[in-house]
Symmetry: C2
Subunit: 220 residues, 2 copies
DNA sequence: AAGCGCATTGGACGATCGTCCGATGCGCGC
DNA sequence: GCGCGCATCGGACGATCGTCCAATGCGCTT
C-alpha cells in the first residue's frame, strides 16, 4: 500500500501523514509540494494506490491536476482534499473521476473516517453534502470535458496549460526544452482531441476547469 | 424613476415586475431578455435609475455584464439578481460595483424588502451572508480587474467577448458588421488597456469573470 | 470654436499560427 | 517481432495575428 500526499502546504502534509499513519500504519507515504513533483513521483512509483490531491496547487489550474492524473493513471485512485468544498466543486470533481472529496475543514475524527473509506475503495463525501451531490445527467457536459481532457498525453497537457496562460509557442518551447516545431505538433494533436480550432478556444476549455480562487472565498 | 429588468427568464421578469410595482408604484419598468437588449434599452433611456441584472444571461459571461454596465453607465445603479448566491460570487459582484445582490431564492417579502433597500440607494445583501461578505483587501485583484475592464468602450467589450469565445478576427468583423481592419484596431487598444500581449491572455482575463454554471449547481 | 474620445478604415509588414507533407527513436502490449 | 502511441524534429506554405504609419466623421465637453 503506497499513498502520495500532494499539497503545497507543508504543515498540512504533516497532519495528513499522521492521520494516514493512524488508520494505515503499514502504508508507505510519499509527499509532493507541487503538481510536477507529484507527477514525477508517480512516474517513478507506478505501484502507488492512492493520491490525496489538493485542489489548489502551483501549476494545477484547479481540476486540471485531477483530469491529468485520471488520464495518465486510471488505475490509481485520487481523492481530492480542499477547503473549497461547495456542492458544485465537489460535483465537478466527482464528474472528473475523483474517488472522494475530503474537506480541509474536517476535524481529525472525520478525516480519519474519510481516509478509511477511501482506502476501502469507497467514495467519501463531506457529510453535509452527502445525498444531494449525485453525479447525474446535469454533469454530462462536465464529463464529456473530462473525457476529452483525459485523452491528452502528459506533455500535451503541459503544453495546453502554458497555452492557457497566454504564452507563445516559442516561449512554451523554451519552457519545456523542446523546439517550437514540437510544440506546434502537440497543438495540432490537442486541437484535434479537444475538438477546437485555435489556441484561444483550447485555453478557454482548460480554464473552465478553474475553481474560484480560495483567496477570495469567505466562510459561508 | 425608471427601472430596467434584465433577465432571460420571462416568468421571473413578471414576478420581478410585480414586486417592483408593489414597492414603487410610480416607477417606469422596462424589460430585457438578453444583455444586448439591455444595452440597447439603456442607450435609448439614459435616465434609467436602476438595473436589476441577472447573473446568467445570454452573451453575458457572468460578471462581464456588470463590468460593462458599470464602465458604460457609472451613474446607474446595478443590483445583481441570481440563484448562484454563494459568498464568493456575492463578494466579486460587490468588487465590481454592484449596488446589491438579491438571491432568487428569496421569498416575496424578502424580495420586496431588498427592492426597497436598493431603491433607497442602500447596499442590500442576502441576510445569510451579511456581515461576512465585506469587500476588503483580499479583493484588490478583483477590483483592479474591474477597473481595467471598465476602461473598455462598449464596442471593445463586445470584441473582447467574441475573442473569448475563440472567434477569428474575420468572424468577429462579420458578427459586428465591420471590417476586419477595425477589429484589429480595437484589439490593439484592448491589449493596451488590459495590459496583455495577445488574444489568448485577453480571453483568459475575461473568462476569469465567469461564474460557475448554474446548471451544475445543486442545493447546498 | 476647439479639444477629446470613440469608431471606422486603409496599406504595409513582420511575427506568429496552424497544417500539409514527411522523418526518427522509444517503450509497451499483443 | 510487430504494431501502436508517444515524443521529437524538418521544410514549406497559407492563414492569421498584431502593429506601424495614416486618415475621416461623429458626439460630447470645455
Amino acid at each position: 500500500m503506497r499513498i502520495l500526499l500532494a499539497d503545497d502546504h507543508p504543515l498540512f502534509r504533516i497532519a495528513l501523514a499522521q492521520a494516514v499513519r493512524a488508520v494505515a500504519p503499514e502504508a508507505t507515504i510519499a509527499e509532493a509540494g507541487t503538481f510536477d513533483d507529484a507527477l514525477a513521483d508517480l512516474a517513478a512509483h507506478a505501484d502507488t494506490d492512492l493520491v490525496l490531491l489538493d485542489l489548489h496547487m502551483p501549476g494545477s489550474h484547479g481540476l486540471m491536476a485531477l483530469a491529468t492524473l485520471r488520464g495518465e493513471y486510471p488505475a490509481i485512485a485520487v481523492a481530492m482534499i480542499s477547503a473549497h468544498d461547495d456542492a458544485s466543486t465537489v460535483r465537478r470533481a466527482l464528474a472528473h473521476g475523483a474517488a472522494g472529496f475530503i474537506s480541509k475543514r474536517s476535524g481529525l475524527d472525520e478525516l480519519q473516517t474519510a481516509l478509511r473509506a477511501v482506502l476501502a475503495a469507497q467514495t467519501w463525501l463531506p457529510p453535509a453534502l452527502r445525498g444531494n451531490v449525485l453525479v447525474g445527467e446535469a454533469d454530462a457536459e462536465e464529463r464529456r470535458l473530462a473525457a476529452r481532457l483525459a485523452a491528452l498525453s502528459p506533455q500535451q497537457m503541459r503544453v495546453l496549460g502554458l497555452v492557457a496562460d497566454g504564452l507563445l509557442n516559442k516561449q512554451i518551447a523554451d519552457r519545456l526544452g523542446v523546439q517550437e516545431r514540437t510544440v506546434k505538433a502537440h497543438l495540432t494533436a490537442i486541437f484535434e482531441r479537444l475538438d477546437v480550432r485555435n489556441r484561444t478556444q483550447a485555453g478557454v476549455l482548460l480554464r473552465s476547469l478553474e475553481v474560484a480562487d480560495p483567496a477570495l472565498r469567505v466562510e459561508g
